[in-house]
Amino acid sequence: MIVRRVVGWLDERLGTNAGARYLLAKIYPDHWAFYLGEFALYFFLTLVATGIWLTFAFDPAPANAYGSALELANRAHPIGYVIRQVHHWAAICFVAAIVVHLGRIFFTGAFRKPRELNWMIGMTMLALASFTGFTGYSLPNDSLSGTGLRIADSVALSIPFVGRWAASVLNGDDAFPGALLISHLYVLHVYYLPVTIGALLALHLGLVIYQKHTQFARAPRVVVGRRFWPDYALRTLAVFGATLAVLALLATFVEINPIESYGPYKPWIVTNGAVPDWYTAFLEGALRLGPPTEITLFGHPIPPVFWPGLVLPTVTFLFLLVWPFVEQRLTRDTAWHDVLDAPTQLPLRVGVGAALIFDGVLLTLAAADDQTSAALHLRLETLVWVYRVLLIVGPLVAGFLAAHIAAEMRARIHESAVYPSDATTIVRNAQGGFDEEEPQPA
């Protein structure tokens, strides 16, 4: 009743009913894998909601940051405790959901023309989400994240020509930890980065609505699926509820980032076996595997952290960012694609994806090589060399193997499409009835 009157009031002034009806009656293709991006969306909304609360509870002044974060980690104040736990878990799940969603987009070829732009927006959001996560877990100024910041400072400092400038902008000072470091991270974390992600997210979803969703149904001229209202709205509401239920479950049973046991940051204190949040672990692994060689260029040193800490993630990001165009070049496929590929359709893409996943997982594992070597009773130096060899050989083997399997599976699917195994021939018999004839082998 009230809804009806409000809708009527708005429509009379703005003429919104026609547009609303169009959006509510819009048809979206349905497949379980299409919900992965929605998980990311709901993790982001949870982060914004809990994050707004946290800005009022947290004091980013360097002297007070650790103390006010400790209060939020105190079980005696259940609301702050639960909100901070949900916020940190949501950040971890947010990046994970983006990665899985991008994996789906990649392996089904959803990034192809005309959706290259939306792929690039999605990749950018992945980078921004990781960076937001890093700036966020660094805010409490505890021993673990402070050591991570010191490493980040070293990486910034390692850039040729502008290293000192970059480190000094980050620190707001000519030394680490600079007086303005935490307040720089704070304004990045609560304002610039989330606002940018929010704007890109609106653009991302706007493009999905405007360009219409891709589908597996081989009907290129029409969208085949369900109406938004009420079918799809209920389904996405269920995803929303499930997202929050999982976050609350994690907050109940698994304590994340127990800063009270880390202690405040001191430049001379560190814990053994420390690892960062999972999405930055590949960088930590790369730093551990990198060679100690310091190159000298025109008499200026390029410290060894520059290559694994900055060049590796930048090159990987740029490669993935332009992948739609690389693939277009390699396959000479400039056609319009609203119909998705089966993940085995293009062996080249499967191979590249498998190689990237192999190295990503390997570098992430390498971030815990000290624990692994202790558990396996293996010399650490031996393990580092195993990882270094695998880093080069592994993606080649994994890539070729995956491409080969994909080609074989594609051939099999193709065969079964030509000679469907369940096809039977009906033959009329002499009595006027019908008999099934056994299918002929291909």
Partner: protein, 258 residues
């Protein structure tokens, strides 16, 4: 009916969470009630969606493909020839100007090397207490700072006492040696000492340094040895520095030669 049960769970969970937080119960009870509330919401929406038995093969036409019209600009006068290039050049000039505020953001460009170590400065612990010559037994380790300089970022050093005969070519009072605690790789504290093999070990990226031989690199990604702090004993039997570190502290950068 199933939807109603799930919605009842949602209502019970949400109100339960409210009561739990009002009573100041354990956070696990609060978040557990939230699990019930959100699980109920998911279940209600999911079973309502299933109960609809809605068709999933409805169709909607897609847009026409390809370019619409050749140029969206109704009048090409601004973008023609030299005139168009000048507009672009003006834009480029502003981009160059943009570097000015960007560069000025580095309020204190450069890098301060503040170790606080000079000849005669006493070694102190984190409580600013001086280190007497009998402070450590053989195999002992302590983090030390220059007196009144505990907060200086490049100051921390590790003081280790070893059997004097084991040291290679170093004159060390009573077998005491001191090295910068800031790793030359990525600035982490080199916090672990394996006293049997006499090596310092960085827990961040596993660089190993030989304590007996000037903290030379044994393995790991650090490019240089840890800077060494030469030591002496003062008249009162306290350890003092006999100068600054013998090399710059921490990782190198473009503007600092190793």
């Amino acid at each position: 009916m199933r939807v109603a049960v799930f919605l009842a769970l949602t209502i019970a969970g949400a109100l339960g969470a409210t009561v739990a937080s009002a009573l100041g119960a354990d956070p696990a009870i609060l978040s557990g009630a939230l699990v019930v509330a959100f699980f109920g919401l998911a279940g209600a929406a999911g079973s309502a969606a299933i109960a609809l038995h809605a068709p999933d093969n409805l169709e909607e036409p897609r847009h026409a493909r390809g370019p619409s019209i050749t140029s969206p600009v109704p009048n090409e006068a601004l973008s023609r020839g030299t005139f168009g290039r000048m507009w672009l050049a003006a834009l480029g000039a502003f981009a160059v100007l943009g570097f000015v505020p960007l560069i000025s953001l580095a309020r204190k460009p450069g890098r301060r090397a503040a170790t606080g170590w000079r000849a005669g400065v006493r070694l102190v612990d984190a409580q600013n207490q001086p280190i007497a010559r009998d402070r450590l037994a053989n195999g002992g380790i302590e983090t030390v700072f220059p007196q009144d300089g505990v907060e200086l970022p490049d100051a921390p050093a590790v003081l280790i006492r070893v059997e004097p005969d084991l040291l290679r070519g170093n004159a060390a009072p009573d077998g005491y040696v001191a090295y910068s605690k800031i790793c030359t790789h990525a600035g982490c504290p080199v916090a672990l000492y394996r006293h049997r093999s006499h090596e310092l070990y960085c827990p961040c990226h596993q660089s190993r340094f030989d304590v007996l031989d000037g903290a030379k690199n044994l393995s790991g990604p650090a490019p240089r040895p840890l800077p060494k702090l030469a030591l002496a004993l003062d008249a009162d039997g306290y350890l003092v520095a006999s100068g600054d570190f013998d090399a710059p502290v921490g990782p190198d950068d473009w503007d600092r030669r190793p």
